[in-house]
Symmetry: C6
Subunit: 188 residues, 6 copies
């Protein structure tokens, strides 16, 4: 079913944009911590490429912990669990990369995400944000869900420019090159 | 075969509602603890999505242990086993999420579940209760089994409203948004 | 080939009733202990559901160790191995649950099983004994093998009642609701 | 290719009888120890049932270590490796059980196997030796390979009795019920 | 999409040459370190042969750590993660071997790779650089991407010699026999 | 492509003879050590039987470490990695057994292999060298590659004897029964 933006979400919850068989939709990525030894658990009916996005996101976080002001003790003495509702729907592809890294940075720092912000983009290990597909459908879904700001790869700007103005008015687009830009824009 | 509600069930036993090829049915989720290191074991011929529900439920419990008044020593020094009878029947889907988290909270706190209460709903990592399908069939099965109170996602209220009154009279419905509401309603 | 009851079997050996493609048969479940850390090993060409029965049986034993008078040191400092001869025959289904839990309780307590007793029934984590199929074929096989007492779920009594008297005379049936009843009836 | 009996084989090497697509053959089971923590490694292109025979054999050895005069320190501080030449030929079935348990007992005790002895039979966890198939083909192969004594399950005596005398003259048959009988007959 | 060379890349990022269904392309191999016990994690939708290249590269690095001036403490107290963007594209084959070993040597030594250098070649455990296929397509892609220097196996020189001069002018080719030559040429 | 013998190869590199879809070829087996706990890693696109050859070779080495003058500390405090170039070619079968055990013995003792020596043969756990197929094709390939001495199982002598003299002149054949003979002949 169609989801809407939600207010006052706790740290670890981030809104992504997904492109599904039935069109665009927003999706939430949720992270939580529990006492442990730094292991990663994943749920939400995720395909192999999407699971790799989560592994990649966690490696990025771990190797940039200092720049991100993450307490190393928290990262070492907790397991992190990442869930993408809804369990009945298989999900795959690399485009939730930015959403996953933002969710993990949010739960590790305790900083929640700003309201009405959504994002989509593949990440790389050195922090680049790569363009993804389905931009038009994702933007329509974001608008319908009450999103006001969208974070995208700089290389997706051309895709946004091709959309009729009526579909994008009221939306603010942030075009980024690096994960650090995403986190600055998204975290409170 | 058709099951009925049972009285004086021990902590860890919770009644869920299932939607099977042969119509609705009630199903039990059972949890037990044994000395160990916090591992989770699952039995009952469960599919991947249902197994993920159990992982998700345990992560929720672990990251909300304090709010749930769970002794951290009990959670760390025991393994938890979750079983869904009956072994010959394959089971899958996310709708046992609330039943699993209630079963785990019950065994960890030692608080049994109130009699004649059943539930169905998907859970998310931050505690949301999402709507599920097969509501009409599940309610008919619950009534047939002697259930008096049913806990559902708020987003399933519209599905209940569409059922003819004759099928729901005598039943009390609790529409919830968060797992914490489920636990307050279900645990003694 | 057809098996017969055996006398003076050591602790850990229990007679079950199986329903195979070629009719009913008795089958033995054997358990042994060896120095270790509480791990479970399974052999005998067992399918997934039958393996789950063994996991379930061991969890039941572990969480009821005190009631069963099992020395916790024995359970923690030994591995348990469960074997179901004969290796060339694939075996599956939940109906060996009571046989497995009895075999494990026997080896952990050192109490052998009474002679000429056989059993069949699914178990649940809280100790319920559920009814199983193929009752008529199993009883014929038990009689042929020289069995005198049969332990079954209370919910299988109706199936026994439907069998012509000539096939059941000389047999004593014990209808049980809980695993504890099985162990009281079967262990010396 | 056809193999022959071999003299002065070291501890751990035992001659079994196999029934293959191209008729009967003798096969060797070889075991070796190396410093470790009691793990079992298997090679030789073995199918699942044959791998289970090895697990079963090792469990039998471990739970009867004292009766077998096996130094517990040797069993705990070594890994055991079991190999069945020849690697290009897939092998399966339970009939190498007695050969495997004899090979393991031989390497753990340092006692080699008597010359010109071969064996075939399934084992169970409590030490029973069960009958196996292909007896006629196996006996012909044993004779061709220069074997003089053959160890079999008591329940295979009827199969030997059906073979024409000309094929079995010069061979001594030992019919056993228990693994302990096998080891007494086979080990020097 | 087509990629270009990038300036000021951090240690661990190396440009490889790939031969895909849609022609040649450059690809990046990225490595990062995070506190751990020397484990290797791989992402980027890699096939089995490409994963083996990474294992091989790490083994080469580990057994030549001293020659490579790698601080043994860094290698032992960190996990290494290797990623090959882009996650939606399956990648396989041995030709990224030199790129992977260079990426790992770069992150372990902290020495970045020289700009506008790309490479392709299979590696062996003793450090040989073996020739690979698709040389013409790879060189065209390298030129298009702004690469100026290309490192190849000496056994691929004949393939370069067969390409028309117009396609290779402005490019410098380095033909190597050993991984050590690659690292001397590529690392700053 | 066709390979040639190589001079001054380091310890751990051994020349084997392979029989492929496109005829005979020589192949190299490479081993290296790195600090660790005695684990074995395998690369080179190896099938299950060939992987088992490596496991078998290492077990042989471990259980004969003293006879082979291998420092037990080196074997216990290092991981061993075995690679068979070239990664794009799937390889399988037991005939690289002697090559693998020679490669491992070479790296553990630091003794390189004599030049222009190649070998082929299956091994068993007690050190027997079994005959293998494709002898004619392998010998032609060895000669073409500049090999002067070939080590084979004694049971392959009949296969060599059937080859026309012109194809074998200039080659010295060593027929062996045991791995120890191989190592004496091959290691410097
Ligand atoms: Ca949705
Ligand atoms: Ca929804
Ligand atoms: Ca039912
Ligand atoms: Ca039932
Ligand atoms: Ca039978
Ligand atoms: Ca039998
Ligand atoms: Ca043979
Ligand atoms: Ca042979
Ligand atoms: Ca590209
Ligand atoms: Ca790109
Ligand atoms: Ca070649
Ligand atoms: Ca080559």
């Amino acid at each position: 079913s169609r989801d809407s933006w939600e207010k006052d979400v706790p740290p670890g919850v981030v809104t992504g944009l997904a492109w599904t068989a039935s069109g665009g939709d927003i999706l939430f990525v949720e992270s939580s911590l529990s006492k442990g030894k730094g292991n990663l658990t994943l749920t939400g009916n995720l395909g192999d490429v999407m699971k790799e996005s989560a592994v990649l996101a966690l490696e990025y976080i771990k190797s940039h912990a200092e720049e991100l002001n993450i307490d190393p003790v928290i990262a070492e003495q907790n397991n992190i669990h990442v869930h993408v509702p809804e369990g009945a729907i298989p999900k795959d592809g690399p485009s939730a990369g930015v959403t996953m890294v933002t969710s993990m940075a949010s739960i590790f720092t305790g900083r929640p995400v700003k309201p009405r912000v959504a994002m989509t983009g593949e990440i790389t290990l050195r922090g680049k944000v790569l363009p993804v597909g389905g931009i038009k459908e994702k933007i329509l879904a974001a608008k319908r869900a009450g999103i006001l700001e969208i974070i995208l790869s700089k290389d997706n700007q051309k895709d946004v420019n091709e959309i009729k103005n009526i579909y994008v008015e009221g939306l603010t687009f942030h075009y980024v090159e690096n994960i650090m830009n995403v986190l600055e824009l998204a975290l409170k």
